[in-house]
């Protein structure tokens, strides 16, 4: 992507009528193909013994890392969240790692991709919330502490997800722009260093995106759980208070 182009959306390969096949779509497909074919090739011959292929080792490290992070964030079994949060992570991470390949336009440097990913989070939060708490209980989250807060709660849900999209977009785009501007000014040295720095930023952004998605999902369920715990606490203290004979019997 040259410095004159603002986003990979403007790099159009084919056009049928109003439908454009631009670089964002094409390189999203490339990332998907890399992930699907790579995982399929690796998981075809898995070993449970002491020796394993280095690619199996890589996938195990990624999966274990994600499971550990999700568990420590939500204090729950990570299995229901791993497919969603893990997919977000490996998609963003792979697309920013592939940015060192010449001619590859990072799909997450287009706001369309990041908005789509954030849209998945926006849908995923209520889906997980309803699955864990039930429909009514989840919706009651929005009128806490008072129904007066309903518009603010809804607005907060949308803006924090939009911030998620804009954060990823801004970081990836600025990485691409810095490299392409530097390679105009000083062709070799600084551009390579900034590209290496961009790899680090890309990984951190992938981590943050997945982590924040998990934080949002967990916060949708935690509020209700905290209230339930408090109610149980009050009931327990009420039950254990009254007669002295019972307390001595305990």
């Amino acid at each position: 992507m040259g410095p004159e182009k603002f986003s990979p959306d403007q790099w159009v390969f084919l056009q049928w009528g109003s439908f454009q096949l631009n670089a964002t779509i094409v390189f999203t497909w490339v990332v998907m193909a890399v992930l699907v074919v790579g995982s399929w090739l690796v998981t075809r011959k898995l070993s449970s013994g002491k020796t394993m292929s280095r690619w199996q080792n890589l996938l195990e490290v990624v999966v274990l890392f994600l499971r550990r992070e999700i568990r420590s964030l939500s204090n729950q079994d990570p299995d229901p969240y791993l497919p969603f949060v893990g997919t977000l992570f490996i998609f963003i991470a792979t697309s920013s790692i592939l940015s060192i390949v010449p001619g590859f336009a990072v799909p997450t440097a287009s706001i369309m991709t990041t908005l789509a990913l954030a849209g998945c989070v926006l849908i995923g939060v209520p889906v997980y919330g309803i699955r864990n708490l039930g429909f009514g209980t989840y919706l009651r989250n929005y009128v806490r502490p008072t129904p007066l807060m309903l518009p603010f709660n809804i607005l907060g849900e949308i803006t924090r997800t939009a911030a998620l999209a804009i954060r990823l977009f801004g970081n990836m785009l600025s990485g691409v722009k810095i490299v392409s501007t530097l390679s105009l000014v000083a062709p070799l040295g600084p551009a390579v260093i900034m590209n290496a720095f961009g790899l680090l930023v890309g990984m951190i952004q992938a981590y943050i995106f997945a982590l924040l998605a998990m934080v949002y999902i967990a916060s949708g369920m935690q509020r209700e759980r905290r209230i339930r715990q408090k109610i149980e606490q009050v009931e327990r203290s009420r039950a254990s208070k009254p007669p002295d004979s019972e307390r001595s019997g305990q």
């Binding site: 603002f6 992070e69 420590s72 964030l73 911030a163 804009i166 954060r167 977009f169 801004g170 970081n171 785009l173 600025s174 722009k177 951190i204 981590y207 943050i208 982590l211 924040l212 934080v215």
Partner: protein, 98 residues
Amino acid sequence: MTDVSVIGMWSIIIAGVTIAVGSIGPALGEARALAEALSGIARQPDEAATLTRTLFVGMAMVESTAIYCLLVSLILIFANPFWKHVIDVAAKAANAGG
């Protein structure tokens, strides 16, 4: 000066001012967060993993205001809506005149 050059000049000036002013606050905030996290890790090295994770998430939150400023200045430079409008108007006027 023509309208086009005035709009170009102000776009670039404002883009620079936006990112310069907008990055002061987040830079100070991130520096403070990092310093606190470092002293926290120095005091309790066992909690380094939790502190680092929270630091990353917090920094991403703090940083987002700077990212918004970056976005505004990038739009002003690369995808300026006023610029496009002025070019269109100028082209129309040139066509009508010629």
